[in-house]
Symmetry: C2
Subunit: 322 residues, 2 copies
């Protein structure tokens, strides 16, 4: 009998871990709880970047170079939008061309938008999209209601939705605060609660702790649920050798007063996970992680390298204690 | 000094007339009032087929074979939707694949949808789209509010929105009624009223009288305005030799109790136009048209034939009396 595993997921790093996990663990006994704080509406279309990255990656359809979007994508709709961006009146944000939506990828947003307009909850729509790609894992949005990750930019002194920081400004401006608008009012869906409370193992994927995992933790009593079972919760550090494998995790940790290292990650996760998985490059930090209250598993964790993913997944599952 | 000309427009036939007119008359002194009864929302996107056909045609970007959509179009978003159509639950109409939206064309709908969501009226958005394509004509939607052409199907005994009749059923099912939902409550925009009342010439384009021109006539006092100035209103028959040049006009005339000929067209237009332009193929009908109360201009009107358009436009303008 296989153990049920629940994975807290952001985007690219989580998607790669999910793909590795699929090779070593029963897919039908795997549940992902996916961050939706990055979700946005552009051109009237409902876009869920982390959900789509996980689905496209598990389906083997992700573009391997970009890490997001579909393989063999074309960009004719986006190119054609430039014509309208040029005549957009002052004050309008129509026809944004800073967020690339591929022609094939558009179909996913068209379907999601139409189903949500019909009243279907995001959880159901996500299950339909996953089924359309032939996936067997349970892929759960963290919530069916709108929770928006808002980022306060230090220099402009404005608060912007996550994608305006991450994509429009290419996450190269300093951040001074992060807030999850709507999280306090958002209820934890019963399926999410059950996956967190009842699965035999919980994995915190190698995603950004501050903007990918934190929105999930901001919902209801997620922290309390995980704290109560922290012996069987294993986190994988998204920081290797002091840098983020993808995205702005390291600079964000620094800007927001955390140590940009596996030690900073350990301090963020010690309350909810008993074990941290780190790369051998960070072996010197083991005593500091243990001092922060976490056990350590040292194993290669750069999944873009060959054969690393399956062993990382196996070692991660093995580290969970009953 | 050129005379101001206003053209009542449906889709393909009207667009071709507008293109011909642009060659013989000042574009800045030309206004189109375009049917929006065919407008629809698909995938959450606001689609205005007749407006887009006029714009793409005037911009020289229309696909010459289909008569609608953009030249050199690709269909990757639509092809990708098939995956989702296959998992759509019973009762859902998400991911319709019967209405083709090209990848480049999608940009127009994305822009229109986003601008409408910002609160911009369709008239303004249409002017922006026309400007983006470099057009100088004034292109006015017949109204800024929703007016929906509804078609009652004889055999199914159901009333469906126009596009479900026209595109989904390929207009090959018999019709027993047409209704313009919302027309009674819709106000006539001031710019439309001025173009109808004050232009020196009004042309009724060779469009379907029952589903392209009738929605415009159903608004406010359009019939009264045109009746009061009918000497300077010239209609072009969309029926040549008893058949429609494009679409279901002839069969619709028959099914709804009208004569499917230039004579049937004359009877529909006699109240609002003093002159009907017909093709030489229909010369035998001149006495019957005159008996219906209209003067007749006979000139080649099949615009897909070379050089026909400009002469048709010239003869049409010349037929208007002060």
């Amino acid at each position: 009998m296989t153990r049920s595993v629940t994975v807290l997921c952001g985007g690219v790093g989580a998607a790669r871990f999910m793909r590795a996990l699929a090779g070593v663990h029963s897919r039908a006994d795997t549940t992902a709880i996916i961050n939706t704080g990055d979700d946005t509406v552009l051109h009237g279309l409902s876009i869920s970047p982390d959900i789509d990255t996980v689905i496209y990656t598990l389906a083997g359809a992700i573009d391997p170079d970009r890490g997001w979007g579909l393989r063999g994508e074309s960009w004719r709709a986006m190119e054609s939008l430039e014509r309208y961006a040029a005549v957009r009146p002052d004050g309008s944000t129509a026809a944004p061309t800073w967020f690339n939506l591929g022609d094939k990828d558009l179909a996913t947003h068209l379907y999601r938008t139409a189903r949500l307009a019909e009243g279907a909850p995001l959880t159901l729509v996500t299950a339909e999209i996953a089924a359309a790609w032939g996936l067997e894992q349970w892929l759960l949005p963290m919530t069916d209601v709108s929770v928006a990750t808002m980022v306060t930019l230090r220099e402009e002194r404005v608060e912007v939705p996550f994608q305006e920081y991450f994509v429009q400004r290419r996450h190269n401006v300093p951040v001074e605060g992060i807030r999850f608008a709507g999280a306090a009012e958002a209820s934890l869906p019963p399926l999410v609660r059950a996956a967190l409370a009842d699965s035999e193992v919980v994995v915190v994927a190698p995603s950004n702790p501050l903007v990918s995992i934190a929105p999930i933790r901001a919902l209801g009593d997620v922290n309390e649920i995980l704290n109560a079972r922290r012996e069987s919760v294993v986190a994988i550090s998204p920081i290797v050798g002091g840098v983020a494998l993808k995205g702005p995790a390291a600079q964000m940790l620094r800007e927001l007063g955390h140590e940009p290292s596996v030690v900073g990650v350990a301090r963020l996760y010690a309350d909810i996970a008993a074990t941290l998985v780190i790369d051998p490059l960070d072996r010197a930090h083991v005593p500091a992680i243990e001092a922060a209250g976490m056990r350590v598993v040292v194993t290669p964790s750069v999944m873009s390298e060959k054969d690393v993913g399956p062993e990382l997944a196996r070692r991660t599952l093995a580290a969970a204690r009953r």
